[in-house]
Point group: C3
Chain length 313, copies 3
């Protein structure tokens, strides 16, 4: 698989010129590296509310776009969750209004991602850390306010529980609209939560799924009134943090058996994502979306399904 990825990387470098040479994209990328310098900006904040209850907050304004530079930061946070002897529960949330965590960053060359060494599971870093989060002996809860699109949806699906703002949460796997196959596990995880039919609707329609529909479909545990979301999640997390760490880990491990996809399914998705990413249709669609304002204009980020819907001939 490694050799295969390497081959794909070469193909991307050849095919990808049109994207990495894209004017706005190139600028955005240049700015980003210039601003951050040697010590990259901290995009993933860990707050230890108590030794047993942590909060991890995504802070990548203006759109919480997840890029190759985010990967080691989130991976390090998950490693801490795996190893800390006291932590029992972690809540993921966002510091950026309107966005929980969105799609992958299409401005840096894909080689910034594919050059990263595989993680402890042997999977590439992004699927590796999602798999490790699912298996960690710690309860992970996402509190979704704003858009959880692409990687944001995939992180949510890899977490143990999902709670959403009824008014302000949007979940989606939008990738098919860019001629991409999602790479972070949703073909494995969505149907195990909501059944084949609704999973195919989410994955092949590429539409925004608001909080109440997300609840009806089982995409999230519950959609709560926005004013109640923080209190509900905090109370649940504090309750769990008061319970016995060993019993929590044992219960989760036993639930893992019938529910977690095998790594082979997760690896196959990443390969399919890479395969799609170097096909001309995806490159053309991404180029057009970047030209329309993807990653720069709020309206494109906020109404992504509308814009992907305009790409068809």
């Amino acid at each position: 698989m490694r050799r295969n990825c390497h081959l794909k990387l070469v193909m991307w470098l050849v095919c990808g010129v049109s994207i990495t040479g894209f004017v706005h994209g190139r600028n955005a990328f240049a700015e980003s590296t210039a601003t951050h310098g040697a010590t990259p900006r901290q995009e993933v904040h860990i707050e230890r509310l108590t030794p047993a209850y942590w909060r991890i907050t995504f802070d990548i304004p203006p759109f919480n776009i997840f890029g190759p530079e985010t990967i080691p930061q989130l991976s390090e946070a998950i490693t801490q969750l795996e190893r800390d002897p006291q932590v029992k529960v972690v809540v993921f949330d966002s510091a950026v209004p309107g966005f929980f965590l969105t799609h992958y960053d299409f401005v840096p060359p894909l080689s910034d991602t594919t050059n990263l060494a595989p993680g402890p599971t042997g999977l590439p870093p992004l699927p590796d850390m999602l798999v490790r989060l699912s298996r960690a002996p710690v309860v992970s809860i996402v509190s979704i306010r704003g858009r959880a699109t692409g990687v944001g949806s995939e992180l949510s699906l890899a977490s143990d529980m999902r709670f959403a703002s009824r008014e302000k949460a949007i979940l989606s796997q939008w990738e098919v609209g860019a001629a991409l196959v999602p790479g972070g596990g949703p073909m494995a995880r969505l149907p195990r939560l909501m059944g084949r039919g609704r999973a195919l609707e989410v994955l092949l329609g590429g539409e925004d799924i608001p909080g109440d529909l997300a609840e009806r479909y089982g995409y999230v545990n519950r959609a709560l009134p926005d004013a109640e979301l923080d209190h509900f999640v905090d109370a649940l997390a504090r309750r769990i943090a008061g319970f016995d760490k060993q019993s929590i880990a044992d219960i989760k491990r036993l639930v893992d058996i019938p529910t977690l996809p095998p790594d082979s399914e997760i690896g196959a998705e990443w390969d399919a994502f890479l395969g799609s990413a170097h096909r001309p249709q995806a490159q053309q669609n991404l180029k057009r979306l970047l030209e329309m304002g993807l990653q720069t204009k709020p309206d494109v980020e906020k109404r992504l399904p509308y814009y992907t819907g305009t790409l068809a001939q």
Copy 2:
């Protein structure tokens, strides 16, 4: 298995006299072949709305009863879906008011069905084509208005997505009420969509499931107001038809892995159906239902669970 089916066929031919000799049934069968002659009536219409977006419409008035003569027509349509290089999405609907697609035709002798050669998967034709529909690299959507009972429910379950009229859709697996085991996959497919408890209720209660309950149970993706159903399905189908065919096929193939039942489960259901069909209790129940007006009187077709409920001693 083939030899086994052959044996069952012989038993059916022996036991089945009471049914094939049933007066109303025989008449209906005779009329039917007489009217259609050598070229059977076209019951399955394919309309290519665009090269990427097809509609397949069932048109078997007055009740959209699915019979042995329908099998090759639907099978041919599915073969075209499998092979056409341009089609991406197909919508199944009905031309017959009140009926999406209902139960199997009990008037022709069962040998008309069991004599048909197995399909490409090695399964008998009916389960074969449902399995092929599920695996086709094309998105299948059913738009359910009226009754989807028996084969109609089974085709819906084998399709990728199901949308129902809130006011006018009825789904059911009514077979247990006739002392039959369903044969087209619902024991494999229903619990994978809605869990064991609700699947057993549908399969063992044999009751009508209206649109809103079907949505709550996950029998359909969504139940929509009847006035919105056509527009919703058409918009979703056109949206998907604008996406990349390869990405659609890759996403569907990856979702297939954790969601599709193995062919062995599907084959076992067909065997159980045949086994039930030649037991005296099923023959007696079917005879009585045909006498009450099954396949001839609208009230019996529309209130089938009521009539099956009257059969018990």
Copy 3:
């Protein structure tokens, strides 16, 4: 595994002194054996409404706490269901207002349970009889009014269908709050009904789940208005009782294939329960809960999650 359990039993006997020596507990246990004498009180009533339709009623006032003395009675009832040639459907309900069936009895020494011989499946008696209920060729329906907590929830999950009073049913797996791992199958059965996320919320939050939320999560088939529950369940049971026993058994057997957990998962849960039960944290939590009034004060039984929530340091 047997030797392992034996070892655990010895450890429990050593560690368990604090519980079996607990004043109120000891009294309750003494009274209980004194009152019942050689012929234990009948806690599990079987009523044959018709030869095909039975009702099994739990009658263990005041809280329907399930103890080691209940095991052989329920096991015997399930054996009758397995062997009777006429029964097709059984409804489980309660004779005790406010309680369907609750948690395991923590007053008798655990050895009263672990000393019982394994059942026909080779599993210990409690998981054995739940597994046998799931596989029996008879349709099992629980009618939940009042609390179905711990064993009550586990019996419900092992049954084929679950219907709940919207106003008066409460389901929960509260065990994590006592630093216990549940032992009767919910880590295997809950996620297969409601998906990983909601199952982890139920199992790790240890909160009460009222009827309407239980329906939204798929914990029960449906929550019905309390005034309609009995009629609905009775009508469904009578309907099924009128159908063909062989077809019922065949349909259930085919649904079993994709839905029932393997016995290995069930056995692993029981081992994890025993492992948790002899850890100091569980013993301390149970001791404190018994001191607060568990098994004696109605308020503790009725608001169990509140009391488990007070145990954290």
